[in-house]
């Protein structure tokens, strides 16, 4: 038993030394990858005066790269801010738009002129997953919580008590406090152990063929079974609200159906989930007069352009996508829209 303050301090410092040392070691094994998050997008919108605002799930990070290419090609004449909301779903997009983005978009200066005076376009990135009902589970991902302020958290706690939903705000705050700690970040990734073991065994991180096939099977089943959940009324209603946001501000709106990794798409998914979702979105876009760009299977993105998670495009793929998109379906971004705003369905 530690009986003196000196002993207690020695114990604490030695413990801390081990933890920090381990963290430094593991940060070399599994470096923390700071991805663009919703608060980064909100901060950029606050700081900048973009021509195009993009909202989507984590896939919006790809459009962030497109925005960089856009700025390069137009020498800064056309700029874009992408706001990625991890885990997606339209209802959280609508919450984010209403509570965090709209106040910035509608901000006026002292003389009553809009601060975001150049904003003319709005792009919503989505896919079939976004229109399925909100997830129910232990963690109850609440990724708008990453854009919450303390006031939002307190209000939600006052209404609901502390729940797995609003707890995400605190999870995010804790991660931000330990922003560079691989141990803290790994608690949601669980890669340190595997990468360390592989490092010690001098083996690559590749999964066994059986594990790899199981992963493919899981993804294929996920997409194929998506037919049963797409078009959830709450999600579609939220999408309607998002369109109204753009209409009220005379923003030229585009809905992008994001590319999927070809390997995750079975023939059944290509004949059920994807076309049914595409029709749903075509009807929606046509009814509301917004442009629809369906790149689910028509982009040049191949299996090699996606990360190991089978979901996100890798950095090289992002660059490829950005270049291709600005030469094709997104070439309209290179020039400002004619006024008044004209929208077409595609």
């Amino acid at each position: 038993m530690t009986g003196s303050w000196k002993q207690l301090l020695v114990v604490a410092l030695c413990a801390l030394a081990v933890i920090v040392g381990a963290d430094l070691f593991f940060s070399r094994v599994a470096p923390v990858r700071h991805l663009r998050e919703v608060e980064d997008g909100v901060a950029d919108l606050q700081r900048l005066n973009p021509d195009t605002l993009v909202l989507g799930s984590s896939h919006a990070r790809t459009l962030h790269v497109l925005g960089q290419e856009l700025a390069r090609r137009t020498e800064g004449r056309q700029t874009l801010v992408a706001v990625p909301l991890e885990n997606g779903k339209i209802v959280p997009y609508e919450w984010l738009l209403e509570h965090k983005l709209k106040p910035l978009v509608d901000q006026v200066d002292g003389s009553g002129r809009p601060v975001k005076s150049r904003l003319r376009r709005f792009v919503l990135i989505t896919e079939w997953w976004d229109t399925c009902p909100q997830d129910a589970g232990v963690l109850d991902w609440n990724l708008p919580a990453r854009a919450w302020t303390a006031g939002d958290f307190v209000k939600d706690v006052a209404d609901e008590g502390i729940t797995p939903f609003n707890r995400n705000y605190l999870q995010n705050r804790l991660r931000r406090i330990f922003n560079d700690s691989s141990l803290v970040f790994d608690r949601t990734q669980q890669t340190i152990v595997w990468m360390t073991v592989d490092l010690l065994r001098h083996k690559s991180l590749a999964l066994s063929p059986e594990a790899e096939q199981a992963k493919v099977d899981r993804w294929q089943a996920l997409v194929t079974n998506g037919i049963h959940c797409i078009g959830n009324p709450a999600q579609m209603q939220a999408m309607d609200q998002i369109v109204k946001f753009a209409e009220q501000r005379k923003l030229e709106m585009t809905i992008l159906l994001f590319p999927r990794k070809p390997l995750t798409l079975t023939d059944q998914a290509r004949s059920t989930t994807l076309p049914q979702f595409a029709k749903l979105m075509q009807d929606f876009a046509a009814a509301r007069g917004v442009r629809l760009i369906d790149l689910t299977t028509t982009s040049p993105m191949g299996d090699g352009d996606f990360m190991d998670d089978f979901d996100h495009i890798n950095p090289a793929g992002n660059a490829k996508f950005a270049a291709w998109a600005l030469d094709h379906d997104f070439r309209f971004l290179l020039e400002p829209p004619p006024a008044p705003t004209m929208t077409t369905s595609k």
Binding site: C14, A15, G161, R167, L170, D186, R187, T188
Partner: protein, 491 residues
């Protein structure tokens, strides 16, 4: 909010820091802890905070009412009994309403349907106030102790409200006695390095048991098999049952240690709640080691008064044992499965009592039975039977329905599913370490090994520090974000 939730990582350091920055007076410290406890409870549901407060105020007033009327005064007997009855009615009534109304309405409705009567009682969906099963017993224990003049009533409403709503023990115990907690609350606490170190070690041990052992075993072994038992073999059923025993122990013992460690950080000692129960060689010994504070409450406030009182239960040890454990089962939950669990243990305790009396008679007649009783073989057999019985009793404890319990029990012997547990090499090692850790804790508590434990606790400070650091790193790697709810919190 629970000890392993992320909000506790914000709440606790702030509360602890502010607490020790306060003037070192009883009023300042207790006021702050009471406010913190209300915030803690309100974080779950502030609308039920008045229920907690009202009961505390009522029992404070009744306690002082009783204290002002000594038991030696015959003229006060009726008033004292009435006051006691009011407290018990409120406490037990609130518990019955929130916890059991739905169950009894549902049960009566099923009976009405079976009898073809067609009448129905409303089956209300009532929120169970967090911790009501625990703080109710704590308050009843206090009032009964004051009634029998075992303790003096608390004169300080501040101290008493904190006694009935101290956040480390509020949601799931340990259930403290007035004599244990109130004297501590009546004094200011001082920050001492030894106590701080012990608090941190206890908290870490509790966290390891709850967030690592219980959650790992639960998610990887117990839940898969219990969730789809027809898919698995009989062997895996036994493994899952063993795993569940580990999980329940780690979950609740872990919670108790977290509560004890948290309280110790504030200079307050809570009673221990677990004492290596898997070393027990009889059911009575088991229940002296498992959920100690609940079982001593049941025996001190129900069993002993019944069997030693002047009523009908006087001397009826066997029946009273069964009734006490039925009450324990009902306390755990308003369901036939929990009642079955309680009945199993009541019968087991009664059988053990009968066996023990029989064996004592044999020992008095012939010394060879004394030798037998003290032999290692007898000890091992008694230990194995005790632990096996406890494990089997967990079948109805885990099940949602009696049918599910019966099916699982049957599958222990006849299941022939061929599904395997999906455990990779590293998770498998982790599971083995979890079980090994529980075994190690118990082994270190054995009398023959206690010297080793004392030597381990005296290793030099730097080595101790590095060991703690390594443990914390391991927990970072193997404890997932968002640990599951404490099993006992639902009671």
């Amino acid at each position: 909010m629970s000890f392993v939730d992320v909000e506790f990582a914000f709440f606790f350091p702030a509360v602890l820091l502010l607490y020790w920055l306060l003037p070192r007076t009883r009023v300042a410290q207790n006021s702050f802890l009471l406010l913190a406890s209300w915030v803690f409870y309100a974080g779950w549901n502030w609308k039920l905070l008045p229920l907690l407060l009202f009961g505390g105020v009522l029992d404070y007033l009744i306690g002082n009412y009783l204290g002002a009327r000594p038991v030696s005064d015959p003229a006060q007997r009726r008033r004292r009994s009435t006051a006691l009855a009011i407290s018990l009615t409120w406490n037990l009534g609130a518990l019955a309403f929130f916890k059991y109304v739905g169950f009894f309405a549902h049960s009566f409705n099923r009976l009405f349907e079976a009898a073809g009567l067609g009448a129905t009682l409303p089956e209300l969906q009532i929120i169970l106030p967090l911790g009501i099963s625990f703080y109710t017993l704590q308050r009843i224990g206090y009032i009964v102790d004051v009634y029998y003049e075992r303790i003096a009533p608390s004169r300080s409403p501040l101290d008493f409200l904190l006694f009935t709503g101290f956040f480390p023990q509020l949601t799931a115990g340990p259930i403290a006695r007035g004599a244990e907690l109130l004297p501590q609350l009546a004094q200011p606490r001082r920050l001492q390095p030894g106590v701080l170190a012990s608090a941190a070690a206890t908290f870490l041990l509790g966290y390891m048991l709850k967030a690592w052992v219980a959650d790992s075993i639960g998610s990887k072994i117990v839940d898969p098999v219990f969730g789809a038992s027809a898919d698995y073999s009989a062997g895996l059923h036994w493994l899952a049952l063993f795993g569940y025993a580990m999980q329940v122990f780690a979950d609740f013992a872990g919670y108790s240690l977290l509560a004890i460690g948290t309280a110790r950080f504030f200079g307050i000692e809570l009673p221990i709640n677990f004492d290596s129960p898997f070393l027990a060689r009889s059911l009575p010994e088991f229940w002296r080691r498992w959920h100690i504070t609940l079982n001593r409450w049941l025996f001190d406030y129900i069993y002993n008064p019944l069997v030693s009182g002047s009523g009908w239960f006087r001397g009826r040890f066997y029946l009273t044992l069964v009734l006490v454990f039925l009450a324990s089962g009902l306390w755990h939950g308003a369901a036939l499965t929990f009642i079955s669990w309680g009945l199993m243990h009541g019968i087991g305790m009664a059988v053990h009592r009968g066996w023990d009396e029989y064996l004592r008679r044999l020992c008095r007649k012939d010394r060879k039975y004394v030798t037998l009783r003290k032999s290692a073989g007898y000890a091992v057999a008694a230990w194995a039977l005790t632990q096996l019985y406890f494990m089997l009793s967990l079948i109805p404890f885990h099940a949602f329905t009696l049918t599910e319990a019966v099916n699982f029990a049957r599958d222990l012997f006849v299941a022939h599913g061929d599904r395997r547990l999906e455990l990779g090499a590293i998770p498998k090692v982790n599971e083995i370490l979890c079980v090994g850790f529980v075994i190690l804790l118990h082994v270190l508590d054995m009398p023959a090994v206690r010297g080793t434990r004392e030597r381990l606790l005296r290793v030099p400070a730097p080595i101790r520090g590095m060991a703690y650091g390594a443990v914390i790193v391991y927990l970072f790697l193997f404890v997932p974000v968002g640990a599951s709810t404490f099993i006992y919190r639902q009671f």
